[in-house]
């Protein structure tokens, strides 16, 4: 029998985030935050949430119509008007990323935070069935481009008194599981990269942390766990506490942590209790 190969991450270390954490309404006032994969799932929820707390969000993602829907949703709710940039992480290169940073400076004047949320995940399959192109696309979208985007944005982020970079990781980054392929490898790489950046930037105004959202009711979850009781997972909107905390000034000094978003579930936005009672829900 193969020994379990587990590297425990310290999940108690939640970077000072407390149970009763209540962000103030203007937590992100005047800030500019870039979100990748903002068109759907967790990225969409984070974009809406950041706008609600006063940030101008640069919505980036691969499908224009989805970004426009999120845009309209934010404006419809009366939150701060966002901005869109259609950005396919599988296609973009360093030149364009550097130019995006220039455009951010020109159009928005500043940048206070980057949420690396988009991720590529092909089918879960035994490794012999993964073809090279799929492997490389996953590593590019999940690791290489976030690295280059970070590089392009660093000069802008360093200009602010406090700014945040948040990477998205996954349980499989620390606990090898079968069949997760390049996705798991990429998440392990992302977590290492985030830790490395946190150290390199420790004496700057830029703090770098990771969030593991945990099982969440999104399209990705359906793809990775087909047939699983999808409605037994919380909605993205219910796990936003950690996302807000790390993006705002309350987490000043918190660097190099991995926060478990599901630990900070907002009960009022978790609809599963109604589900259990048999009420219909609109996800």
């Amino acid at each position: 029998m193969l020994e379990h190969c587990e590297r425990d991450i310290n999940t108690d270390m939640q970077g000072g985030l407390n149970d009763g954490y209540q962000p103030s309404g203007d937590l992100l006032k005047d800030r500019v935050i870039l979100v990748t994969g903002a068109g759907d799932g967790i990225g969409r929820a984070a974009a809406v949430e950041y706008s609600k707390y006063g940030a101008t969000v640069l919505l980036t993602g691969r499908t224009k119509s989805k970004l426009e829907r999120v845009y309209d949703e934010i404006v419809g709710l009366g939150y701060v008007e966002p901005m869109i940039y259609v950005l396919d992480l599988a296609e973009v290169g360093e030149d364009e990323l550097m130019q995006i940073a220039l455009s951010i400076r020109k159009d928005l004047g500043r940048l206070d935070g980057v949420l690396h949320n988009a991720a590529d995940l092909d089918v879960l399959t035994p490794f012999e069935h993964i073809d090279q192109a799929s492997w490389e696309r996953t590593m590019r979208v999940n690791v290489t481009i976030p690295f280059l985007l970070t590089k392009a944005c660093i000069p802008l982020l360093r200009e602010q008194k406090s700014s945040s970079i948040v990477f998205t990781t996954d349980e499989c980054a620390n606990k090898p599981k079968g069949y997760w392929g390049a996705y798991a490898v990429s998440k392990a790489a992302v977590q290492n990269f985030a830790g490395m950046l946190a150290i390199e930037l420790q004496n700057t105004s830029v703090s770098v942390n990771c969030i593991d959202p945990g099982a969440t009711r999104t399209g990705m979850r359906l793809r990775t766990h087909p047939g699983s009781p999808i409605k037994s997972y919380p909605l993205p909107a219910a796990i936003m506490t950690a996302y807000l905390y790390l993006m705002g000034p309350d987490s000043a000094g918190v660097r190099g942590h991995v926060l478990q978003a599901a630990k900070w579930l907002e009960n009022t936005r978790d609809d599963r209790q109604y589900q259990i009672k048999g009420a219909t829900i609109i996800p």
């Binding site: 404006v75 869109i84 030149d95 995006i100």
Partner: protein, 251 residues
């Protein structure tokens, strides 16, 4: 809410007109790239530690290697001025709007330097170069042009495959209906140009190529002989310009 009311971040092709206003930042960026490249190499380049580039040194023939060393010795004017924006070896920092000069034909480089000097090249970015060339003597112009033409060209990188493919079609086949000839005819099938008149485009920075094609299109760059590039560019859409720039970068 209608589409036109939504706010979109300025796409790369439109930034150009604003480039002057952000130049301060680009300049600083290019400088850090250059200085960090030097510090990671651990040496401040001197004549002795110069990498030998385009002109290959033949160990057996000392006259030939002397020749090569002379060609590759960095002219003072390059290290004191041009390098900040164009890189010591004529390769600029990724993402900036400054053109690579490495491996460009010397005749073309000289022509451009004289065009800047006489203000005949007067596109929106040209003013930056006017100041740079003003103090140069004919001998210095000759020297820097020769130096940069002897450096190794920027290797091609294809970054946006869809655009690269679309660009290749236009580059090699032109656009029949729009009366756009194949770029290949003058800039060569591999983008290395045809001396003396037709410049190399291979590996050139996308941002710079997009700029130049727009300048030709708008007629603000008007130093091309017989308006040849203006005639061509006026029929290109901004998407086609992006595609051509992506392809040329890939060559």
């Amino acid at each position: 809410m209608t589409k036109t009311q939504r706010r979109f971040l300025t796409p790369p092709s439109i930034i150009i007109t604003f480039i002057i206003s952000v130049l301060g930042m680009e300049y600083a960026q290019a400088e850090t790239v250059v200085s960090s490249a030097i510090s990671t190499a651990g040496v401040v380049p001197t004549k002795a530690s110069l990498p030998v580039t385009a002109a290959k040194v033949d160990a057996k023939s000392s006259t030939q290697s002397d020749e090569a060393a002379k060609l590759n010795a960095v002219p003072t004017i390059v290290s004191s001025s041009c390098m900040t924006c164009h890189g010591q070896q004529g390769i600029t920092a990724p993402g900036v709007m400054f053109p690579n000069l490495a491996g460009q034909w010397a005749f073309y480089l000289r022509t451009q330097l004289y065009d800047f000097k006489s203000h005949q090249r007067a596109d929106p970015m040209a003013a930056i170069m006017w100041g740079m060339v003003a103090p140069l003597t004919d001998a210095q112009i000759h020297q820097v042009a020769t130096y940069f033409s002897n450096q190794v060209r920027n290797p091609g990188v294809s970054e946006n495959l869809k655009r690269v493919e679309a660009g290749k079609k236009i580059y090699e086949g032109g656009l029949l209906k729009e009366d756009v000839p194949a770029c290949m005819a003058c800039h060569g099938p591999t983008g290395v140009g045809i001396p003396p008149l037709f410049p190399a485009l291979a590996g050139q920075r996308q941002g710079y190529v997009v700029n130049q094609l727009n300048y030709f299109k708008l007629g603000t760059r008007a130093d091309d002989p017989d308006g040849v590039m203006r005639d061509i560019a006026k029929n290109l859409t901004s998407e086609q310009i992006m595609e051509l720039a992506a392809y040329v970068r890939a060559l």
